[in-house]
């Protein structure tokens, strides 16, 4: 791979002007990281403002084989936006315009740097919302959400980012600008390429515009906070509820360790002694919600729920969700580094998987918190650790080796919503055979033959 020579630099600056081209070491240091622990310095950071600029930049990068790593707000939990082979970081945060809101036809068109929460704000006055709600939604960008195929608590009922991308404009490594999909909720014209780019983690092309499907806001939302004496009971309650055919908007599970960490920071008055806590949210038509709620409460009681409390108002709910969304940061308080993964298993295997996580971390003498979007089997085992303590770090790595293997054993998968990036690349063989991985490589080879887009990651 080539270095950025003075001549190349001149060409790049010519495209975006000096103001949007950074290469001082001080400024570059601010783009060497995201929310994962791995860091690596770029050689240049460029802020494009149009698809045309992206295209011209990529043409140069393609010609000189310079790595290009896309970045939004830098909240990836799997190192997707860290330029591991240096080169250019293309930061989309300034492409932050909402192009069109059209709730009559149920779509919104945005540039990639628009923050997820701003999409919600733009839709709210019309009584609509955009379902994918990653924990970082208050700062993470739609471009990043698409690249990582982001999900969140609500995805239990509503599905993940991929289910909401109707169409997109993408700049390929060669600089070609392609579009696919349309403004139509139903569209089976040609390959559904937007699905391929969702979750491609910036390795296939760079999204410069997206058409997103939006949904009418449900008439009512009700939230239950439920505590259990036993973690097994907690997990069983989840698989019973889902197994009985009820589909809440979200079911979040927290073990005692997690709950206490959250309580330490937020002082919400949660029950610190509960071994398991569930946060259940149902939404829809009022009457339907009430009937669902009754059934859910039956299942909770059958599984020995100790305390079932309905949150009184929106402010209460918002507080609970803010606390829940901060869980990752709250853990960060406990130690210099935090390893948070997102293995996912079929929901009926949730109780087993939680037991495994507890067993494995205990056998390596580590403290772990378990937090899960339990309704869809998406687990977040979180281990606070210190990377400078090599002995401990080795134990953490071994524990995760076993956790991933256990998830694969139970018919699960590596990542429910964070993506693979660097973090989980080496575990791919657990869930994909050689031929399947070869297919991914062939796709990559066909679309990015020079391998300049986010090199060094999972493909």
């Amino acid at each position: 791979m080539t270095h950025i020579t003075d001549e190349i630099r001149k060409q790049l600056v010519h495209i975006v002007t000096q103001k949007r081209y950074l290469d001082s070491k001080e400024e570059l240091a601010c783009y060497a990281y995201d929310a994962f622990w791995e860091e690596s310095m770029p050689h240049a950071v460029i802020f494009p403002e149009t698809a045309d600029e992206v295209s011209r930049i990529l043409k140069i990068a393609f010609l000189h084989k310079i790595p290009v790593t896309a970045r939004g707000a830098g909240t990836s939990l799997c190192s997707a936006s860290v330029p591991i082979q240096h080169g250019i970081v293309l930061c989309f945060s300034k492409m932050d315009k909402i192009v069109e809101v059209n709730t009559r036809d149920r779509y919104i068109i945005v540039q990639p740097g628009v923050i997820n929460a701003d999409v919600q704000k733009a839709l709210a006055p019309f009584g609509f919302f955009y379902p994918p709600d990653p924990g970082s939604m208050n700062i993470a960008t739609i471009g990043g959400n698409i690249a990582q195929n982001a999900g969140g608590p609500r995805c239990l009922k509503y599905g993940v980012t991929m289910d909401y991308v109707l169409g997109m404009e993408v700049v390929l490594a060669s600089g070609e600008i392609v579009t696919f999909g349309s403004r139509n909720v139903k569209d089976v014209t040609g390959y559904k390429l937007s699905s391929l780019f969702c979750g491609s983690e910036g390795t296939l092309g760079l999204v410069t515009r997206a058409i997103l499907k939006v949904m009418p806001k449900p008439e009512t939302v009700q939230t239950l906070m439920v505590t259990f004496k036993d973690l097994d009971d907690t997990a069983n309650a989840v698989s019973d509820i889902i197994g009985s055919g009820i589909l809440p908007a979200a079911i979040e599970l927290m073990d005692r360790f997690t709950l206490n960490a959250i309580e330490d920071s937020f002082g919400l008055g949660l029950d610190r002694t509960a071994e398991g806590t569930l946060l259940i949210e149902i939404d829809g038509i009022k009457e339907a919600c009430e009937r669902e709620m009754d059934k859910i409460i039956e299942h909770l009681k059958a599984n020995n729920a100790v305390h079932i409390q309905e949150s009184a108002n929106d402010a209460d709910r918002e507080r609970l969700w803010t606390a829940r969304r901060s869980a990752y940061g709250v853990f960060a308080k406990l130690a210099p580094d935090i390893v948070s993964e997102d293995v996912t298993v079929p929901v009926s295997r949730v109780p087993e998987m939680i037991r495994k996580i507890k067993q494995i971390t205990k056998s390596y003498n580590l403290t772990a918190g378990v937090l899960a979007h339990a309704g869809d089997g998406n687990m977040h085992p979180m281990i606070p650790a210190d990377r400078s303590n090599t002995e401990e770090w080795a134990r953490v790595e071994k524990a995760f080796d076993e956790i991933f293997a256990a998830a694969a054993d139970l018919g699960g998968t590596l990542s429910g919503e964070h993506g693979i990036g660097l973090a989980k690349a080496r575990y791919l063989p657990l869930v994909m055979n050689q031929d399947s991985r070869n297919l991914m490589s062939r796709i990559k080879q066909a679309i990015d033959p020079a391998g300049i887009l986010n090199p060094g990651k999972f493909v």
Binding site: C30, R71, T75, C91, A140, G329, F331, A332, D337
Partner: protein, 423 residues
């Protein structure tokens, strides 16, 4: 030794603080974010980055509003890390002559008085040091606040008796803004406190709280010592500030600064037999901002029923009111319940006006974007009054208002005082 602040390495780089940062929101550049500043400080401390003018600029591109620390789930106190770093940058790179002379002047009350005295020769023209202190950089000269004819503290007695039965006594820390620019705030504060039955003590030997110095990387030890001694000399139920930034100095910065000076192995100074650190703690515990105080005593206010309804009234919540005193909900409740006031909150009441720290002076372009948004909202609710309890915000807001309009920027106390029943 107990580490006083959460070590930098506990930043998990989650990015949540970006959501709270007014500078990031405008620029959308990571290097302007609180997370990046911490990373830069970390790099400086690991010796991967040496000090440079650019590094200094990057860590100083900040309003020192403290919103990031409130948003951080890992408990990082950005504020102190930033303050510390600014100091280190100034130690290694020096400061511009203008800032140096400002620091020199502000660090001693006698020099401030001299500065003000010289200004009087020029009548109501704002002296340069005040213009520098409040960074009037991008405000048209004719929209500068006018100087008080006489410094406020000179016009009042040291002890002012309450109206009616004495409930207790309060020490009033007036700050420079009230002393030199906004005497209406001072008069109203005293009026309200005495109306509520409190004796008000105004120590004559108080001086600038020192926050502007600290923002410029000067430790402000002299200012702190002077103020601690001045405030500790009086027995009182509470210490009232009319500016939450001064308040933050008394409440948060002095105890932290004393801890730091102690770490450098300077012996703790005695004051009347009491260790200075204990005095600082006492002062910190007693300090309340005037609006929280009024909110807590709202029921005891007696209003003149003939006061015409004032409004619509919008409020701007300064950063230190929100983040240090957490007073915004109290103030909202207070304004909503004042019988003579038509309080019409704007949706961006808590958004920064761009006035803070060394910001508005060094980055007028960014500050302007912040201010323009605020102006849009305050015009949208047709406000007649725009209230705020920070003098820097007040200068910034009134300096940027279209003078042809009729929005008045005031400290809430002056409207409240105006509506009180006078004997």
């Amino acid at each position: 030794m107990n580490p006083p602040i959460k070590p930098l390495k506990n930043c998990g780089k989650c990015g949540l603080c970006l959501t709270a940062c007014p500078v990031y929101k405008v620029l959308k550049e990571e290097q302007a974010s609180p997370r990046a500043k911490l990373q830069l400080i970390k790099a400086f401390e690991n010796n991967t980055l040496e000090s440079s003018p650019l590094l200094k600029e990057l860590v100083s591109k900040c309003l020192m509003c403290g919103s990031c620390a409130v948003a951080c789930p890992s408990g990082i106190n950005h504020y102190e890390h930033f303050m510390d770093m600014r100091q280190k940058m100034v130690e290694s790179l020096g400061e511009t002559p203008a800032i140096k002379s400002l620091i020199f002047l502000l660090s001693k009350e006698s020099r401030i008085r001299m500065g003000a005295g010289m200004a009087k020769l020029g009548q109501t023209l704002t002296p340069k040091w005040l213009a520098d202190k409040y960074r009037l950089g991008n405000i048209p000269i004719n929209q500068f606040p006018r100087l008080n004819p006489t410094p406020f503290r000179k016009t009042v007695a040291t002890t002012i008796s309450p109206k009616g039965l004495k409930k207790g006594s309060l020490v009033y820390f007036t700050g420079c803004a009230t002393n030199f620019l906004y005497e209406d705030t001072g008069i109203s504060t005293i009026g309200i406190l005495t109306h509520l039955g409190y004796e008000v003590i105004i120590p004559k030997d108080q001086t600038c709280c020192g926050i502007p110095l600290m923002f410029h990387g000067a430790p402000a030890v002299e200012n702190m010592m002077t103020n601690i001694q001045a405030l500790c000399a009086h027995d009182c139920h509470g210490i009232i500030v009319d500016c939450t930034t001064c308040g933050a100095a008394l409440k948060d910065e002095y105890p932290a600064l004393i801890r730091k000076t102690k770490e450098k192995d300077r012996p703790a100074t005695e004051h009347n037999g009491e260790v200075l650190e204990d005095c600082a703690q006492k002062i910190a515990a007693k300090t309340t901002d005037i609006l929280s105080f009024i909110a807590a005593h709202r029921k005891d206010l007696v209003f003149d029923e003939t006061t015409p309804k004032l409004g619509p009234v919008a409020y701007h919540a300064p950063c230190h009111s929100r983040n240090s005193f957490k007073s915004q909900p109290l103030v909202q409740d207070l304004l909503r319940n004042l019988p003579f006031m038509d309080y019409t909150p704007t949706p961006d009441e808590a958004e920064c006006c761009g006035g803070g720290g060394t910001f508005f002076y060094e980055h007028p372009d960014i500050a302007k974007i912040m201010m323009d948004k605020k102006l849009w909202h305050v015009n949208a609710v047709n406000a007649r009054y725009w209230l705020t309890d920070c003098p820097v915000c007040r200068i910034n807001m009134s300096g940027n208002l279209d003078k042809s309009g009729d929005i008045q920027v005031r400290h809430p106390v002056s409207l409240i005082y105006g509506a009180l029943k006078k004997p």
